[in-house]
């Protein structure tokens, strides 16, 4: 079976007041490697969910091999050979691999012929070059393998078109390579692969044709061959991008943050952080690379003043973290961009104006003796929204009504607009943020650095770490396993360290 040709013809879809897709027309050729790119909210996920039967289009139609089809549910999509791997896996952690694969297709009466199923699955694995242990439970598998289970699940249902929504967000560079190899092999056997992502380098490397979307509409569909990353990025945002300023000098100055033999207890008696030591100076950006879950979270908690029971020492401008109330630290030059935007960085139910003072709400400039003046709050908010270009410009909207990029801009605006920022702890500052906002946020960081702030950047995007950091530390199982500089290393090298291979 070949991956069929899929045509979108004038497809539109609105949700309430939001036009998610506007007159979308493009073609995914038979047996092709096709990319769909665009900023958050550009409508790329929506159009794919329409294809997968999760949403129905308001107007327009979808043709598979020239025949118009009406897709009402994922079941119908699968029946036509269209399958989708979501960003968040739909697996039952406590069930085994094979159980997860047949889930939803298990016989509703009679016996479950485990042996036959296993045989069929093994044949499938051999055909497509997978080597999963079918008896293991999902929770025992690394993320990359879980993703393979999702893919195998679709193959088991005889899908010929595989839609992958941001598949590399959770993977290490090595896992990304493996994924692309496997996808390539599938393509060679006749399948079509549709890749939705905002990582331009990957899409350029892997696909043949790229459909660029902006504000719900298709900008154009271009061939990937010979396309510059920068050109593609500009097509996506619809304007020219500025280049990051290169730094002028590297003066070694005052030590701002000093971490010495820091230890934090983790689950099952294994330390989450184990004798971590490093320091950051004024005007310096230190990047922390590592696969998530290797101690970054615990490090953030200590360095933002949330976790006050740690071993060893962590000092900000000479002051031990757990000797100073977290609120006071924030008045004394500590700025934090927490890793989980929705849960940690903002209060979604609060208005923008209220969010702009979070962590500084007792300062006299917002009202004296505990009073919080609404006029002062909204004046403050208006000024910040202007300066950091937050849209829409309405300080009374709840934070939850903003797009991810604008929410993150609010966080950055709040943290970088205090009377002083000596130390900026930025954890995943651009996660889920679109290209335009990423560019802006990075510029702000470098401005702060040049003003003399020490910055600790924690990110799973190696690209980001490599382009911003002066020094890079690699965190693996709670320990610093390597230190290097961007000029002396590569993504591949870092990727190896991140998986525990010694330097």
């Amino acid at each position: 079976m070949k991956g069929p040709q899929i045509e979108f013809v004038h497809v539109s879809k609105t949700f309430g007041a939001v036009q998610a897709n506007r007159d979308v027309s493009f073609t995914i050729a038979a047996n092709s490697l096709h990319g769909v790119v665009g900023e958050n909210g550009a409508g790329k996920s929506t159009i794919m969910k329409i294809l997968y039967g999760l949403y129905t289009a308001d107007s327009g139609e979808i043709r598979i091999d020239g025949k118009p089809v009406k897709l009402q549910s994922p079941h119908e999509a699968i029946a036509l050979g269209v399958g989708m791997v979501h960003q968040h896996f739909m697996l039952v952690p406590t069930l085994s691999v094979w159980e997860n694969i047949i889930l939803g297709q298990e016989p509703t009466r009679g016996r479950l012929h485990r042996h036959t199923i296993l045989q069929k699955l093994s044949a499938l694995q051999e055909q497509y070059g997978f080597s999963l242990d079918l008896e293991k439970t999902i929770e025992e598998l690394p993320v990359g393998h879980q993703q393979q289970v999702e893919i195998l699940k679709l193959l088991y249902r005889e899908a010929n078109v595989l839609i992958l929504d941001e598949p590399t967000a959770v993977l290490t560079p090595q896992e990304v390579d493996t994924l692309f190899e496997k996808m390539h092999a599938l393509w060679k056997q006749g399948k079509s692969i549709v890749l939705i992502t905002h990582k331009l380098r990957e899409i350029l490397r892997f696909t043949d044709n790229i459909t660029v979307m902006r504000q719900g509409a298709v900008v154009e569909t271009v061939a990937a061959k010979g396309l510059e990353e920068r050109t593609l990025a500009e097509k996506i945002v619809g304007r020219k991008l500025a280049t990051l300023p290169t730094r002028q000098s590297h003066p070694k100055r005052e030590e701002v943050l000093q971490v010495l033999n820091l230890g934090v207890a983790g689950k099952y008696g294994k330390p989450a952080l184990d004798h971590v030591s490093f320091s950051i100076h004024r005007g310096e950006v230190v990047g922390i690379a590592g696969i998530e879950g290797n101690g970054q979270h615990e490090l953030v908690e200590v360095l933002s003043g949330v976790n006050r029971s740690y071993e060893g020492s962590a000092r900000l401008l000479g002051q031990e973290y757990n000797q100073v109330p977290a609120y006071t630290a924030k008045q004394n030059g500590l700025s934090v961009i927490p890793p989980d935007r929705h849960r940690e960085a903002v209060v979604l139910e609060f208005s923008l104006a209220e969010n702009f003072v979070l962590g500084h709400h007792r300062e006299d400039r917002y009202g004296r003796n505990g009073y919080l003046s609404p006029t002062k709050l909204s004046r403050h908010a208006d000024a910040l929204m202007e300066r950091f270009d937050v849209r829409p410009r309405n300080a009374h909207l709840p934070m939850s009504s903003l797009s991810g990029g604008n929410q993150q801009k609010c966080v950055v605006a709040r943290e970088l607009s205090q009377s002083r920022t000596d130390f900026l702890l930025a954890a995943h500052p651009t996660r889920g943020v679109d290209i335009g906002a990423i560019e802006f946020i990075h510029q702000q960081f470098l401005l702060e650095r040049d003003k003399g702030a020490a910055i600790l950047l924690i990110s799973s995007e190696l690209e980001e770490i490599l382009s911003l950091s002066d020094r890079i530390l690699v965190l693996y199982e709670g320990r610093v396993v390597g230190e290097t500089t961007p000029s002396k290393t590569s993504e591949a090298q870092l990727g190896l360290w991140m998986t525990g291979a010694t330097a």
């Binding site: 940690e344 609060f350 007792r362 505990g370 919080l372 797009s403």
Partner: protein, 351 residues
């Protein structure tokens, strides 16, 4: 103005719908649906009916606020019933310890005692939640039993008035009496609505100010909306949990000001027709907004009051109709919010 309209839309529609359903029920039972309107008319638009409505609304304002302030901190205070008894006992205890205080001081002491006793009772749940992570729902439910039992013990034994059959405490001394509005203004013909109503209204306004215009209220709401974000902002979750439960308990305790200082001048066993639990409904209808609570407390006061009117007006339906009405309102309003939230989520999912 637009905001006010959209906030009132849900509750008003819910109330209207509930009235319509009840009118239908009445018709089915062979009673004139007009009875319902007549009952509400006399509970809201006659000075006698309104007097009692406001008298019932007063404790509901306090318990509604008690639930709402905790809700703003992400806590579900089901313990207002126990807290209000403990607060009421507080007034009697202080009143019997200091019977001869001059007027203004006695009133201050009485109100402070109600708040502090209730607050300490609520604070226990807050403390356990902050220190031990015990779920406040369980703790407050259980403390209801303990609080009521404690109050009953004090009413039945050390504070008991031995000269009467009914289990009730000795009387307060006169400086602790809050005058009824009838005594002080001549309005509301001899109904027991008293100055505690004024106190309740002021308290609601103050709570609005506290929650939405002060840094303390800001912290409390931040903790309620997001524990983690609060920690990252240097706001102590534990301290605010304790504070919210203390204030909540204190507000519930203030019910005693109305009942003991304003009305009975003594504490009678089992006086509360579940003001504490009705407070949950009052807060829900008002979406935990202090000013909204004033309105919804009056509505629930009127419904409670209308039970008697219905009984007087009709031989065919019993006064439990008012309970049906209350239940319907809660159900309709809650489902309205649910619907609204689902729609919102759908919209968000689209973006």
């Amino acid at each position: 103005m637009k905001k006010l309209f959209s906030a009132l839309k849900g509750p008003v529609a819910g109330v209207a719908l509930s009235l319509a359903v009840c009118a239908g029920l009445l018709a089915l039972l062979g009673e004139s649906p007009y009875v319902l309107l007549e009952a509400l008319q006399s509970t809201l638009f006659t000075s006698f009916g309104l007097g009692y409505t406001l008298f019932y609304a007063t404790p509901l304002i306090f318990t509604g606020l008690a639930v709402a302030v905790c809700f703003h901190c992400g806590l579900f205070n089901i313990g207002a019933e126990g807290q209000l008894y403990v607060g009421s006992v507080g007034i009697i205890v202080i009143g019997s310890l200091f019977p001869n205080l001059p007027g203004a001081l006695a009133l201050t002491f009485g109100v402070a005692a109600a708040f502090l006793f209730g607050g300490l009772w609520g604070g226990i749940a807050g403390f356990l939640k902050a220190k031990r992570g015990s779920h406040e729902v369980i703790v407050t439910i259980l403390l209801n039993f303990v609080g009521i039992a404690l109050a009953n013990y004090l009413i039945l034994y050390p504070l008991r008035n031995q000269t009467v059959q009914n289990p009730e405490t000795v009387e307060l001394s006169a400086p602790y009496f809050l005058p009824t509005l009838f005594e002080s203004t001549g309005l509301f013909e001899s109904t027991p609505v008293n100055l505690a109503l004024l106190l309740a209204v002021l308290t609601a306004c103050f709570m609005f100010f506290f929650l939405f215009r002060t840094a303390w209220g800001y912290e409390l709401r931040a903790v309620g909306a997001s524990n983690r974000a609060s920690e990252f902002a240097g706001i102590s979750v534990g301290r605010n949990t304790l504070l919210a439960m203390f204030i909540g308990g204190g507000l519930a305790g203030m019910v005693g000001v109305n009942e003991v200082m304003g009305h009975q001048h003594k504490l009678v066993e089992g006086f509360s027709p579940q003001y504490g639990f009705t407070g949950i409904a009052v807060a829900l209808l008002a979406r935990n907004h202090p000013i909204g609570i004033l309105l919804s407390a009056v509505l629930f006061g009127a419904l409670h009051n209308s039970a008697r009117e219905i009984e007087f007006l009709s031989d065919k339906v019993s006064k439990e109709l008012s309970l049906v009405l209350q239940g319907l309102i809660i159900a309709f309003v809650a489902s309205h919010y649910l619907l609204e939230n689902t729609l919102k989520r759908r919209k968000k999912g689209a973006a």
